[in-house]
């Protein structure tokens, strides 16, 4: 079987202005994953690396650029699952990390499958994942999207964030 990595950047009503930026992001993520495999990395490392590219890209609703809770906070989620032993690592409600997917990968090594909220964040920081303030994860677009949501203007496709 030829190794292959497929990525997505979210389903939704992208505006025409979003399209080229999102395509640039998913292309970069797919190429990154491919490069990891080509250089001898595992398929786990390659898929995590591909997701990290998109988490770092503010065009996507993950990591930097995440949409906000109703009170203006960032709470993120991530899941990693491998198919040989069907091991799972997952986090929900995690805050103050740049790459939730890397925390989910760490959870795979625990006897538990899912960690949530303050405990997930504490687990990340206890395991060397750097603290990232909300200000570095929140973007002008996510602030605007929440403002529009609160003003009941979300029906405008131009203000929706996909995924």
């Amino acid at each position: 079987i030829e190794p292959i990595i497929v990525v997505h950047g979210g389903a939704g009503n992208y505006t025409y202005a979003d399209i080229s930026r999102c395509l640039r992001g998913v292309r970069a993520a797919a190429i990154k994953g491919h490069q990891v495999v080509q250089s001898g990395g595992s398929i786990l490392d390659a898929t995590v690396a591909a997701v990290e590219v998109m988490e770092a890209d503010p065009e996507f609703n993950a990591g930097k650029g995440s949409v906000l809770t109703v009170d203006g906070k960032v709470q993120m989620e991530a899941l990693v699952m491998e198919g040989e032993h069907m091991k799972v690592g997952s986090v929900t409600g995690i805050t103050n990390v740049a790459h939730p997917i890397s925390v989910a990968k760490l959870v795979m090594d625990l006897p538990h499958s899912i960690l949530g909220f303050e405990s997930a964040t504490a687990f990340a920081h206890q395991n060397g994942i750097p603290f990232v303030p909300d200000e570095e994860l929140i973007t002008p677009a996510s602030l605007q999207a929440l403002e529009n949501f609160k003003n009941k203007k979300i029906s405008s496709a131009a203000t929706e964030i996909p995924g």
Partner: protein
């Protein structure tokens, strides 16, 4: 929401999904992404999936698990993905998309939303798209 799935030369597969959730969600809301079978699923004996879209709908319909169920029943990767996301939209409403790799390496990409960005590398070519039925390609 973003996701990546992969298969290596030994047939070992992985599913990864990451998200900021939904805009204006209540603090404490849990979506589909962290739930195996909903936001993603993976079994080397069948295939691997990552899903995106309306989280509550994906959760209620177990989109990723359903795609693997279609694969296990012999449906191809593309058709299995299409059937599950369209079935979700028809049964519980909402829009979704998913990417799938079957254990034989076949790829499935489908969505009921207006658009979904996706990409993969095969051989020396990069394939990508965002609109329905669109497959763009370029040499690496």
């Amino acid at each position: 929401t973003v996701g990546a799935i992969g298969i290596d030369s030994n047939g070992h597969m992985v599913s990864c999904t990451s998200t900021g959730g939904m805009n204006g969600k209540l603090t404490g809301r849990v979506g589909d992404t962290p739930i195996p079978g909903s936001g993603g699923y993976c079994d080397d004996n069948i295939g691997t999936v990552s899903a995106t879209g309306n989280g509550e709908s994906i959760l209620r319909y177990n989109v990723s698990q359903r795609i693997l169920a279609y694969l296990e029943a012999g449906t191809g990767a593309q058709e299995a993905t299409r059937l599950a996301v369209e079935g979700m939209t028809k049964r519980v409403g909402g829009e979704a998309g998913a990417i799938t790799i079957a254990k034989n390496g076949d790829v499935g990409i489908a969505f009921t939303s207006k658009r979904m960005s996706w990409a993969y590398v095969k051989g020396s070519k990069l394939y990508y798209g965002i609109n329905p039925n669109e497959i763009l390609e370029e040499n690496l």
